[in-house]
Symmetry: none
Subunit: 402 residues, 2 copies
């Protein structure tokens, strides 16, 4: 998007409501079947699609399945392929940790070492989240970080945790200590080119203490493997980029974190469609752009539960009149990626895009489905084109050149 | 495709069968007529198209007609516009010459010089291939290349031949000696900036001998013009690029050469559809990716023989069940470029793409034709996107980012 001529952005009072139905796109369970969207009864979405313009957009590039981080950054108009978010940072965002620019975020796996210090289970028998909490409490009490370094340890789930080191002295050029193999010892912390650094020395000192602390505890989890060392890189805020004061209505930590990463203000956190619409109604007056995140289409897709996903799409459809009633200059209904129940994971399949606006050029799409939206007036294109199209449909761009 | 994040490639046992119907796309003979694909009766291809996903892809860029070299490199996922293959190298690949990295390949045209040494016919009256062979035999016997330089001369057809110089001392920075004009003398060999070099000195010495040898021969072909000096540049192999061990089932030298250029293993060379399918069945267990090349759709197109091209498409259709029976994770049926019988040459028209896979999102395409596939779920896009899409449909890519 380096090509976008940002001097054409207008600052006016035209509102944009940008609704992401996470993992919306799907697949039929059998070749002759219907997708989740085609199966769902969605009179409100069908009407909106029929009256406006639709398309099918590739989140990153054709064929590439995005994680939630890159998928949302692309929705927000960033070139996510060129600005990967470190996994540690994403883990921190995912549990709602309040990341500062001084932090190095690290994914932690509790593991099991044998008497010779070799890894026998990289996930410590998938201990429970409660056991994880119990162990972290002990480690927190005993661990002594070096002067000038603050340390945070947070449970994620089961054997997974988050470690954050906060200091001015740190960088994130640290390779994983997880050798991704059994019957070998954990790796010492080194830079990605195998060197030592101030940060690796600090990490190795902490790891040594952790080993001693956990060796005295009765648990299969007697050590921690560290992965995905990542700092938050400064990126231009959404408002700097697109000239819109932006708020986020999102209930799940990961998406709240992603919104905050681009400088959006977190205004509410409901999860049900009608509550999302009510929150949008309440907060829209304070913003130019409101990001609304609906999680359950993805959650049911990842569960591989086709009928539950259908039900969630129908539940969202029931809230559509409330979103339309906001009378935004542009109402966008789209997804970050597809999560077909058939696959029970994120997929590369392009996602439906609907832009409702007085300025939308109607096309032949009559229903809210992948198969129909392939023929939409927006065509098949890259998701990174969406934000300029949305701003245009909201009347927030002027012409380029005379 | 420099953007493609190669670390998402998975190495697993999912098979890809990639069938290229050379020159498949066509045109109706009259405005209200049908294309070759629409005319052909293709029940098996129609069924495959109806159950899977289709699109229309531009080989290089919209409007650009590709030669066979760039067209195939693009199919294989290379940026062919940025890595042109020298014409001499393509000529060598075209006749199946076993090119080594030390070789400079040169296209040769027999021509006619008058008594003043001026060109009167750049093609020597289009001598027969037999006359070409007779003359090369004489030249081979008498020509004495300098020490350390091996020289090969091979008939291509009519007035066209191939010269290959093999030595460590050579480069391919040599401009054509063909002035592309009549009643002027041939040009001496020089570099592209008009300088002399070790290589141009060697070439000029050989040319001088050739002139003497041919002046004593009774033929309109009394000299050789040299064009398209080219060495084989190292390019990343298909396996390095896409993580697939690749084999090629191709009967024609040009395509065998192109497959070898990207490091595919040549496993068989039949030309008939059912024999291609049988060869694929035999060799698929040894590879992740099998490139299968069918030539006759292009050959009949280049002959301008509409009905013969229709018959070849139907002949291929009869072999489709045998390809489906291979049960590859992804079966691709596409083309390198269009060769409409109406034009009797390669054209720029986008080519049909069909990806058959359990993970293909069905679209509204019901028949195997250009007109139908324009509306396919893959849309109209650039051919360089095909390989990522194929890998995705075969389950050989993991997600990008978390």
């Amino acid at each position: 998007m380096s090509e976008f001529p940002s001097d054409i952005i207008l600052h006016n009072d035209h509102k944009i409501v940008f609704v992401v139905l996470d993992g919306l796109g799907g697949l039929p369970l059998s070749k002759d079947g219907k997708t989740e969207m085609e199966t769902a009864r969605t009179p409100n979405l069908d009407k909106l699609a029929a009256e406006n313009i639709c398309g099918c957009f590739d989140p990153l590039l054709p064929g590439i399945t995005p994680g939630s981080g890159p998928a949302h950054l692309t929705l927000f108009g960033y070139d996510a392929l060129k600005m990967p978010i470190g996994r540690g940072l994403l883990a921190a965002l995912g549990i709602g940790f309040d990341v500062s620019p001084r932090d190095v975020c690290i994914r932690v796996n509790f593991c099991t070492l044998d008497a010779n210090g070799q890894i026998t289970d990289r996930r410590a028998g998938r201990i429970s989240s409660e056991e994880n909490q119990r162990l972290l409490k002990i480690v927190r009490q005993k661990l002594e970080p070096p002067k000038g370094v603050e340390l945070f340890l947070e449970t994620v789930s089961e054997h997974r945790a988050l470690m954050v080191l906060r200091s001015d002295q740190l960088d994130d050029n640290v390779a994983d200590t997880d050798p991704q193999a059994l019957n070998v010892p954990p790796l010492p912390a080194k830079t990605h080119t195998g060197q030592s650094s101030k940060t690796t020395e600090i990490v190795n000192g902490l790891v040594k203490q952790i080993r001693e602390i956990l060796s005295g505890v009765d648990s299969p989890a007697n050590f921690m493997l560290l992965r995905g060392f990542a700092k938050m890189r400064p990126i231009p805020s959404f408002e700097e980029k697109w000239g819109c004061k932006a708020g986020a209505v999102a209930g799940y930590p990961m998406y709240r974190g992603l919104a905050r990463l681009v400088g959006m203000e977190l205004v509410a956190g409901p999860t049900e469609p009608k509550k999302l619409a009510a929150a949008a109604a309440k907060h829209l007056p304070d913003f130019d752009f409101l990001f609304v995140h609906f999680k359950y289409t993805d959650k049911t897709g990842e569960d591989g539960d086709f009928q539950a996903k259908v039900a969630q799409i129908e539940a969202f459809d029931a809230a559509v009149p409330a979103f339309v009633a906001l009378k935004a200059s542009a109402l966008v209904i789209t997804a970050d990626h597809s999560t077909p129940a058939k696959m029970a994971v994120h997929s590369w399949h392009p996602v439906p895009v609907l832009i409702a606006s007085e300025l939308a050029r109607p096309d032949d799409v009559k229903s809210f489905s992948e198969r129909a939206m392939v023929h939409g007036g927006l065509g098949r294109q890259l998701m990174r084109n969406l934000m300029p199209l949305v701003l245009a449909h909201a009347g927030r761009l002027t012409k380029f050149g005379a």
